[in-house]
Symmetry: C2
DNA sequence: CGCGCGTTTGACATGACTCAAATGCTGTGG
DNA sequence: CCACAGCATTTGAGTCATGTCAAACGCGCG
């Protein structure tokens, strides 16, 4: 049994077969929210439910032509950007219902790399078609605007984390942010799987792998969490929360 | 003579009197770009050209109701977000033609504080009116989307800076980014005024004030820059550039 | 079953922060 | 217009959190 299947991907039921937006279990977190039935069907037609992506497989690469936005359908992804000398920063993790590629709109070029963290699938939204549709569906444009704004606000929070927080505060903030996102999707806020590696977490938080590893150990010793491999349980949310300020 | 007037604010000519979009010297960097003449006039009508803001004066405060987007007309602003225990992070500096408040759309609440860095003025765009207009002007929505995407891309770059760069690389990157933005606006890329304090720069880059001060001195010793007070001249762009990777 | 990589743990080095103090600039009030 | 008060900036010395290097471990995959 592969590592990938070992950890059941989120919303795995959506991975392999066609599901129209209106029947999709992600509907209430997703773009079409608030569209009328007729509009929904039009949107449905431009969505490409593409193949699945295996762990490590790129969804798109930096510096390639921007064609589509993607919404995670099942599994998870990470995005990274790189300096010219090869250092890179994990800019985000993406879970079902979340958009990937929003930062590519303005230059019509992807400026990040996006990779699957586990077996995953996406809904592909060809941007030109989406914009055509947007002309007749203001509500769709509003949704897009809102999504962009939400990611922007999240990134400002990350800037606070990266610029002002100590290592333990960073990790606590990260864990609670994941927890919150799983909770919103109807999963346990206290127990979940970390589909990304320690290296990815460390990179994302601006820390060394060793620091993250040591912190996981310390948090466990202090009774804040239980962690075995990729499975984590948050045991003392209040203390974690108090670490975040 | 006050400090504020000492340093001539950018686009000061726009500060005090009414200028229609089509006559505005910022037109080609601004929202209305690409709108038809008729649409431009409609947009013009919803814009509030509000009073000027003095140094330190808030444009809006975090946790207050979101009503408007703002475009800087003259001068400059900074935005900050805070942890619950009072630490705060400068999330951005804003110059003429740039949008402030885009991260507030999704929750209809400002989540940052915005403050003038010098005597400044803005165009206020009441969001509800803007959305009304957007329904009949897809081009306007596209512009908005593009602006949001651009800021998002910039923030990803800042995450790379905050997470992966050493102090001197951070400062070099910051200086060149300012240089680039001034250049785009038709100003000298090599010589400009730093309207923000050393403290603001340090905070924005995730450094201590002392570190920034020392780096300015070092850069000067090494012939990379000349700096006296708020006036800076970039003397060796290539070396600065090589520090950024 | 064995190789390889991700993870953990330990020892040490160091870049950047903190504390402290001198200096300079700015805005204010006389 | 000048003098003073207060804040911003610079510079120096010492500390510390986190990174780097190194090695052992163990899980997962072929």
């Amino acid at each position: 049994m592969s590592n990938v299947d070992n950890v059941a991907p989120l919303f795995k039921d959506l991975a392999d077969h066609y599901v129209a937006c209106q029947d999709c279990s992600l509907y209430r977190f997703c773009l079409p929210l608030g569209l009328h039935s007729r509009d929904l069907q039009l949107l449905d037609k431009i969505i490409k439910r593409s193949q699945t992506y295996k762990r490590g497989q790129p969804l798109f690469a930096a510096e390639t032509e921007f064609t589509s936005l993607y919404v995670v359908r099942s599994g998870s992804f990470k995005t990274t950007i790189s300096t010219s000398n090869g250092r890179d920063q994990v800019t985000g993790f993406y879970f079902p219902g979340e958009f990937i590629g929003l930062d590519a709109i303005h230059q019509q070029t992807y400026k990040s790399n996006a990779k699957a963290l586990e077996s995953s699938s996406v809904c592909e939204l060809p941007f030109d078609n989406l914009q055509e549709l947007g002309k007749e569906m203001p509500q769709l444009q509003v949704q897009l605007l809102t999504r962009l704004s939400k990611e922007l606000a999240g990134d400002k929070g990350l800037m606070l984390l990266l610029g002002k927080k100590a290592a333990d505060e960073k990790l606590a903030t990260f864990l609670l942010s994941l927890s919150q996102r799983f909770k919103e999707r109807g999963f346990s806020a206290a127990e979940f799987q970390l589909s990304m590696s320690r290296g990815d977490i460390a990179n994302h938080l601006g820390l060394a792998v060793e620091t993250v590893s040591r912190l996981f150990s310390r948090f466990q010793d202090e009774g804040l969490i239980t962690i075995t491999g990729k499975a984590i349980a948050l045991k003392d949310m209040e203390k974690l929360q108090s670490l975040c300020e």
